[in-house]
Symmetry: D2
């Protein structure tokens, strides 16, 4: 660890909570250089939905490298880019009756969000974007402007503009948050300008595993239509199957104007991002938003292979089934430890246990790590222990992880 402590910037974070050197990984397991094995309930913060080192992806990537496949190409046409585009259309867009132009905005989620905000502002000629309390959309200045966390925002070093934070579903106890949003939109004296877009996560990952109801999502989509506001769904963390369907918004039956994808879209965990834009809003000039790594071809290889999981409903169903197992496990813990004062949050394989005693969560994650489970916290006060196992995990894996968590909670409560 001395290497990281001495050579790396103090900004490093995960190597603090899990102070070891990891060496190998397969499926939902990961090993450090001392040979310790860990169950991964973190999955690269949602970037490893298909688990570590999927055999077929490995083969295809090795094959691509061995054949001198092009590794870097900006947005030049390449065989791998072509293959991915065609597969994505065939496996994802067409079966869902979705019509989007695909933009490769640079290989990170924040870059996808920045591109989404830009095109929404260009298309509408408006500057304000409405985002929600406890939203997380990224760390570059554009994305940070629509991110809610005050520590992250303060880090900007400059005031953040052109955004208005509105209450997420259920944000204020006993209050109808949609009535507020609607009133602010309809009143010309509200002080909030007609926005270019509303951006949201259907399940807020960093913000505390807050899952919007389908009804709320539908109504927000309706408000957008009514006032000609673009709806941007940031599906960077909740997408790619995390909640049980490829896009997290599918059960709501809504039709966003722009969708941001990253993290697991690359399949194997290599940097990649997409911005999906309805054709009528795809009004970019060539190169108006660009970046060096728009063409991470090796990621396209993994990404195209990953789509195989989505050729039929099996994967989706299995995620939902495992989601039930996870939910029941969490609820059992809630019941078992009343002094933990906790409740369940989330859906699919994006769940968490939220406690009224946020001062305990760090210790619980630390105990879990020592027992062989990688799990992190989220929420503005770190009040949630967050479960993001790889979607390919089996029920045994889930139960094994839950068992470790059980012991960890017990240990911490007894201290």
């Amino acid at each position: 660890m001395k290497t990281f402590e001495e050579l790396e910037s103090t900004v490093r974070s995960y190597s603090r909570g899990w102070p070891t050197v990891f060496e190998k990984a397969k499926g939902y397991k990961i090993w450090d250089t001392d040979g310790n094995e860990y169950i991964d309930f973190f999955a690269g913060a949602g970037a490893l939905n298909y688990g570590h080192n999927d055999d077929t992806m490995q083969e295809k990537m090795i094959d691509y490298i061995q054949n001198n496949g092009i590794l870097h190409s900006l947005d030049m046409g390449t065989t791998s880019r072509k293959m991915f585009l065609e597969r994505f259309k065939e496996v994802i867009l067409e079966p869902r009756d979705l019509d989007y132009k695909v933009m490769f905005p640079g290989p990170t989620g924040t870059n996808s969000v920045e591109s989404a905000l830009k095109i929404a502002r260009k298309v509408t000629g408006r500057d304000t974007v409405i985002s929600f309390t406890n939203a997380f959309h990224g760390m570059t200045i554009g994305s940070l402007s629509v991110t809610a966390n005050s520590f992250k925002r303060h880090g900007a070093g400059v005031p953040l503009h052109h955004s208005v934070s509105m209450p997420f579903d259920d944000y204020v106890e006993g209050q109808n948050t949609l009535a507020y949003l609607e009133r602010f939109l309809e009143d010309r004296g509200s002080g909030v300008a007609l926005p270019a877009a509303i951006i949201l996560e259907t399940v807020q990952g960093e913000g505390g595993i807050n899952a919007a109801s389908m009804e709320w999502l539908k109504k927000v989509a309706d408000l957008c239509k009514r006032w000609d506001i673009l709806l941007i769904v940031d599906d960077v963390q909740a997408g790619c199957g995390r909640t049980g369907t490829f896009f997290s918004f599918e059960p709501a039956g809504i039709d966003p104007d722009i969708v941001c994808l990253s993290k697991s879209i690359g399949g194997a965990g290599l940097p990649m991002a997409l911005t999906l834009i309805k054709p009528e809003y795809d009004q970019w000039g060539p190169g108006e938003h660009n970046g060096t790594f728009r063409g991470n071809n090796l990621a396209f290889i993994g990404a195209a292979e990953a789509l195989s999981y989505w050729e039929n409903d099996d994967f989706s169903k299995s995620i939902q089934e495992k989601g039930v197992v996870l939910r029941e496990g969490i609820e059992a813990l809630v019941t078992k430890y009343p002094e933990f004062d906790a409740h369940h949050r989330g859906r699919g394989l994006m769940q968490g246990i939220a406690t009224a005693k946020p001062e305990l969560t760090d210790a619980i994650c630390s105990e879990a790590f020592q027992r062989g489970l990688i799990v992190e916290t989220s929420g503005p006060e770190d009040e949630v222990v967050k479960f993001l196992p790889p979607l390919i995990i089996d029920k045994e894996g889930i139960n094994e992880g839950l068992a470790i968590l059980d012991e960890s909670i017990k240990t911490v409560l007894e201290k």
Copy 2:
């Protein structure tokens, strides 16, 4: 090409100028699916300094994958991260007497720049950053604020703030741009606040291959010291040997407070970026700037291998020698085609031919492409044909490329 035209966003750019599907690449050559061979004077816009598919890098990456090496890890400790950090210290920092903390800010240049601006603002408590005319630092809102191109800036859809554009070396004919900068800094009535930082490229790639003189760089560094302003060198395009030394600023003998690296730092062209920060300014809180793909471990494998080029002076010398060949070739073209009204720009293997007839450059690049040379334009009016061959090219490759360019210019002038 139909796939790209139909499925991809109109934002795509390079696939327009080079309308083919590329399949393979090795060294300084690249082939399309029709078997056409091209000399690459573009090198992934500077991301492929070591050429395509370096044998050793290929081997090491394949080996890493085969051994289930961790592909994705945010900023957890991994063996590949450790190895890279140690190699970078040993091969790059220590021999140059440089003392920097290494930050992994997300895998793109713009992310490195965003992190540099944030930490400079945090450390100084000031918000303004001075950048230069024709600067290019990236497309996310923070980086775009210090980018000069009006088309790119306009694309933001919102006004860009907290930055002041000052004239780059030689920007105004017959004027001393440093006297100008100095006056604005020293006068409390100048209307320009004392900045947190000055950010610059020593050779402006996108801005038209404008190479600052070593004297100008030294004086800017002196001004920074005098007023306690942080100096940020954005070495994303000019670094990693592009100008003949690992860092482009080495010949100026300056000592920037923050250095941004990306593009070729990954060796093989995979997304990766670093922000180097003087220890006294490394005042980040854990996770204050973060991102999912901070830990692109496969890129670290290529990156660590690439450092082998820098274990002695040989590579550096060979770049400089090839730079002379390139320069002489360009100057010969300037002389040969007086009606092209052109002059030479740049240094190292980052050079260009600038013309007073910017309307011709697109046609020249197009002719070159048809003859088997990949080369692009730069500058606010696309008035420069820009040469960024892989640094591992040989003199024959350079001359072959120049010969194609000769024919291309001739053809266009004769039209």
Copy 3:
């Protein structure tokens, strides 16, 4: 009228609704050059609380001019400035147990608000200011940033920053707006930074005569104390007795940190403004906020004389009594014309009749004008006919005005 139409900018507004040339005025009456007499229920938008051309003020101003009293003096010491300061302390501050430093910020309400925002930001080191829906604080960029009306905001020509619009008391039917505000303040993930200040009008004049309840005002004041936020009351329109007490916030028993006064503070209608600042927050450097007309000495003469009205409770009581007359009159109209679909708003002599048929109000005011009553609309949709008679009006005057209004409503409804 040709002079105004031809020579004046199209920005002129009141000369459109009341298309005549006014010549003289006394008390609550005003005459045009054709000798028509009008009852003034507008009172210079609240700048003529003491009526037109009060005899004593006239005498004192004439005397001052005749004696070569200093008319213009920036913030130099003058006898009239001294007299005003002493009277204001003796008659207004001391009897109310209020301890404020008096700032002369330039002679307009917007200038007072700009100075209040500046000092709040300086003192707290924060930049955000919370304002309320339908707030009006002025038209210069700082004040406009905390003004809610979209037409006015749009006129800025630039996005307006550093402000957050929160729902005013009763803004959303059936919702508890304070719970909402409190949640945004307490949650570190709300997306709203801890503000420097909360600025409010106790009765929103331009925004539609929305009168906050005393309970709401108290709770907002409590929230400010709890989070160390400065409370700014903009009493430019509601102050100087308009609601029945000198300061409009007196019945709430709150103790604002900063108070903005203008309009009627000058007594006779000459430009003048004050910013009252609690001593502990009076941290200005000399001249840090300045302006040429800080020392409108002739206004100080009127202002000092006007304070005579406040030496005992008589004036205050008479306003409240006349407020009841006005309220009863309005409620009678509401009842009499159910098809007008209206309800009463406001308190003191700052009242209005709000209708669900905003398309009628302009015609009503126009009819009233033709019948000899000056009255204007307010609210985001001009949905309120707003009554601001001079406070010195007698009950006959109020009833006469109401009678004209009765006829005007009737006429319009019958059209």
Copy 4:
């Protein structure tokens, strides 16, 4: 003075440098309550060009008040407003072949500037405004954004946006400031967006009595025409005859698109301001920029009377003659006290003596005050003693003032 010290905010400034209570004033003289007489070389910072208490203005104002003339009227039509508009057209605009719509933006200079910036942004649809080093345009946030002084800007408490500071004529020794401005405008890669407007003072009063050459003004006006940028001349301090012609820009033969007037436009020193807008740019909606004190009718009375000075050339010529006397006096002081290391600045009756020893100027003004001369400093380092005598002063008055200054300099140098 105790009253001011105890009751007034610490922001007060002039009552510090001239610590007495003034009581009366006539012409170019002013008296305090102790009967001390002072020559006024300050003239209300340019608001008293016609001197204190002009006999005719006094009469007309008294007459107006006695006849119950309307004192306050927002922008309603009144006889006094009508008379002023007609006189201004007849005496000022027509003889100079100027075609402007007259806007009454609120009674202060900063309000005129705010309105000018708004309309320029609206008309062009652009947001940036170019202003100049050492410019002073006012203290509200919009005007402050184009004001250069760092102490004033810092006072905003928020970053100031949408403005770019360019070098005023002669700002950088040996550099051609126009070449810079032109280069920034013509290069699409300059980092400076095409501005809505360029705003300037022909002689910078607060910035240190920097007088632009007529050639520079002409060239700036040409650049504006060439790029379709609106030219705003802020003639608040330099206008109304201060430099020898009614508008300060007349000798340059330029034709600004917008002109800001305030200070002496009211004649007698009462708050008043105008924004003059070319008819084609007068695209305001009714009330889009408003304010309570747009109709300071008593000021219109003084203002209309003041125009009598401009019915022929006599006043203009006399100012220019007195300007020569003042200039010769200043130059004599420069020569007499080489150790003061000073030089002359300015034109008309807006002149100053600038020293390389700014630490002396406060003491000189203090000595002058004790000897009966009111004179203040200006410039970013207070390096200029600034002379703004009333324009109606006679040569004896000027010489008397200069004699006091001579003694004051002598005394300070001998300390």
